[in-house]
């Protein structure tokens, strides 16, 4: 699971009002190189919740993202490279996503998060 996906996921449990962002716990992660596409990055940037991306990247040991980010930084190649790396090249293989409100853990195995809700959570 890449941080792009993590940035979009929100906890779906019945009654939860703020299920975003899910806290990331990572036991195993890998880096997979992907071609950088500046157009995509510029297009997706407005949709990204920066603080969530920042925190998740830190969990994976990547601290090179700036604390704050705005659209003007997108013209910088250096920024784009870091953004690209955090968003698309870090893959969580084993770990969990934790609901910020209920503490419920959604396990990640083989890179696949298990988002299935139990009967009483729907």
């Amino acid at each position: 699971m890449r941080l792009l996906t993590h940035n979009m996921l929100s906890c779906n449990i019945k009654g939860v009002t703020n299920g975003f962002p899910l806290k990331l716990e990572a036991d195993k992660w890998v880096t997979k190189e992907v071609d950088l596409n500046a157009d995509f990055l510029r297009g997706i940037f407005p949709k990204i919740e920066w603080s969530a991306l920042l925190a998740a990247a830190r969990v994976l040991g990547f601290a090179e993202l700036p604390e704050q980010a705005d659209a003007s930084m997108l013209s910088s190649d250096d920024f784009l490279r870091r953004f690209h790396h955090a968003l698309l090249e870090l893959h969580v293989e084993e770990g969990a996503l934790v609901c910020p409100e209920t503490g419920r853990k959604f396990p990640i195995n083989k890179g696949i998060p298990n988002m299935l809700l139990h009967e009483d959570e729907v």
Binding site: S10, F40, G43, G111, N114
Partner: protein
Amino acid sequence: MPRPELQAPPEIFYNDSEARKYTTSSRIIEIQARISERALELLNLPNDGVPKLLLDIGCGSGLSGETLSENGHHWIGYDISQSMLDIAVEREVEGDVLLGDMGQGLGLRPGVVDGAISISAVQWLCYADKSSHEPRMRLKAFFGSLYRCLARGARAVLQLYAENMNQSEMIMTYAMRAGFSGGVVVDWPHSSKARKEYLVLTCGPASLQTALPKGKGEDGEMCSDEDDSDDDENQTVGVYERNRPRKKLKVNKKGKSKGKQWVLKKKEQMRRKGNDVPPDSKYTARKRKAYF
């Protein structure tokens, strides 16, 4: 063989062996690729070369997702079968896949997705596999969450195999209630084997942008008959007119119908013979109501 939806819930039907069979069948691969291409076409994404973030609902082993990747897009896939997803990971698909139940809602932030496709999956929502499953609630949760996570003006294209008209209508109703506008595009409507239905939904009110293209085969084009898809289970229901022929009036050689005079004459003949004949009255040989 009854259709898969009637055999077992999807997470059980698509077990390891079925998943492997599905993914190694060249026929299925070809069909799914073709359907995915068509769905992507119907998404009507802007032709600006910028990769988009798309959803593949019911992504399975990643056959449809590959089409999205080949077209340069990033995608997030959902499936309920662990076996199918394991194969997707094995095949190193480029999208992220999630183990999830679309009937529980997609759990995505509002307005983040540029488009969604679903190939041969949404009809599974119509079958109640557990006693707690109420298809209507699941359809509501699915379409509600899908509507929320799509960006304004984005489309969702859902190719599905509804069992009958009731199912099609139910699915459409819940899509509309969630706020979608749109309709159904049918390719090859006259071929029971090649026929495919795409529910094309747009996030937002109906407008010129939401106008649907014509389905293939509507202009009398012939589809290739090599497409012997698994449509044996998906026969469309024929509707026959209740057109029983009317009882025709009896016509004698002279062209006249046998009217009152003839009946009275016959009755008189019978009386002369000595038969028991009911007396004549004003009701004898009167014109009766036309037969239905």
